[in-house]
Assembly symmetry: C2
Homo-oligomer: 225 residues x 2
């Protein structure tokens, strides 16, 4: 059985990616980062999802990014926007995916994992620069030079199986693979119990995805949206 | 005054790089990672060096890499080698520089810093893959795609001013710029008080550098090497 590191946030995209990796026969070592995110409810969601989908292991690494701040997700003084804008939104966390992928790269090397699965999506997404295919290619090029494993002939592969899918397609795919989306948390300002606001970017994209997919939305909202 | 993030380990290379950045007129925001390294004495050294060289700020970010292990620096069960070998040594920490640079990238964006200074060296070094010029170019290429700042026209520059210097040249340069090398700790198994073993790779490269530079070695050794 091949080993993979799966970056697992607790949201619907990474849950679907974990289900894909499992369906591809991978032993999945899931990595979640507790970075001081506003929506801490996603950490419990990640643990539920890892268990439900048969992960080989689930680790939570603590790395406080609130000291750097610069995002609505890591600075409580910056509000989560509830109206869509046309620029990169303030929920962008500086270099977050580079930090996450670097940690996944480190762990992949000590595990002897052949791949890293990452649930970035560049279709129905918030416009974050580090979710684009060209960014992923640049990270993979870096990884081919960065590690002892790579120099010795075993570079890790970066797999982004949902990067070109619409939110509706992600939902259909996840549902077909047995993901229970009720276990996932997408909302940027979810309550501790995991109730969603229904108004932020993440909630809007998620809700529209369920509608487009024709799948009942199992999200527990704070108020009926 | 331009702002920079300077990765500062507490060793002689990054101390020299900080002195170079200061000489280039940079306001230096120094970043040290407490990753569970065996040679914790370098953390106190980094604080001394930052103070002595007039850093604008010095931050220590806690990120425990011992859970991943895979290195003599992060796993107490793996001994630090005291004989030079011809392969990448076990003191290599999986993907460490990628993790460090990712954190520097994150901070550079929230600071509005124009550059990251990094004391990698590819001449008198231990053969780590993530110290090579081609790795640095790949990271800079990644950084041009990774951040909101880059997308909006202000990518951060990665500066590696000592990457092509010999250890002796680094020592001459640092000495000329006022680095007090007695404040620095290079030894991979330094005691808590910062005494060096005199036998590990890092000690051997450092000692040979002082000899070649014709500069008195101010290192405090546990035993006369």
């Amino acid at each position: 059985m091949q080993k993979s590191v799966v970056l697992l946030s607790g949201g619907m995209d990474s849950a679907t990616v974990l289900a894909i990796a499992r369906a591809e026969g991978q032993a999945c070592h899931c990595l979640t980062v507790d970075y001081g995110q506003r929506h801490r409810a996603e950490l419990a969601a990640a643990a539920r999802v890892a268990r439900a989908l048969g992960a080989a292991e689930h680790r939570v690494v603590a790395l406080d990014l609130t000291g750097f701040g610069g995002s609505a997700l890591t600075d409580p003084k910056i509000a989560v926007p509830e109206q869509p804008g046309d620029r990169i939104p303030v929920t962008y966390v500086p270099a977050r995916n580079t930090v996450f992928l670097a940690l996944a790269l480190a762990w992949s090397e000590t595990l002897g994992a052949e791949s890293i699965y990452f649930g970035a999506n560049a279709v129905d997404y918030s416009g974050y620069p580090d979710c684009r295919p060209e960014y992923m290619r640049a990270f993979e090029a870096l990884a081919r030079l960065a590690t002892k494993a790579a120099v010795e002939g075993s570079p890790v592969a970066l797999r982004t199986p949902i990067i070109e899918l619409s939110k509706a397609d992600i939902i259909r795919k996840g549902a077909a693979l047995g993901v229970d989306f009720a276990q996932t948390v997408s909302c940027y300002q979810a309550t501790e119990a995991g109730l969603a606001c229904g108004r932020c970017d993440a909630c809007r994209l998620r809700r529209a995805g369920f509608e487009a997919a024709g799948v009942a939305d199992p999200t527990r909202y704070l108020q009926r949206p």
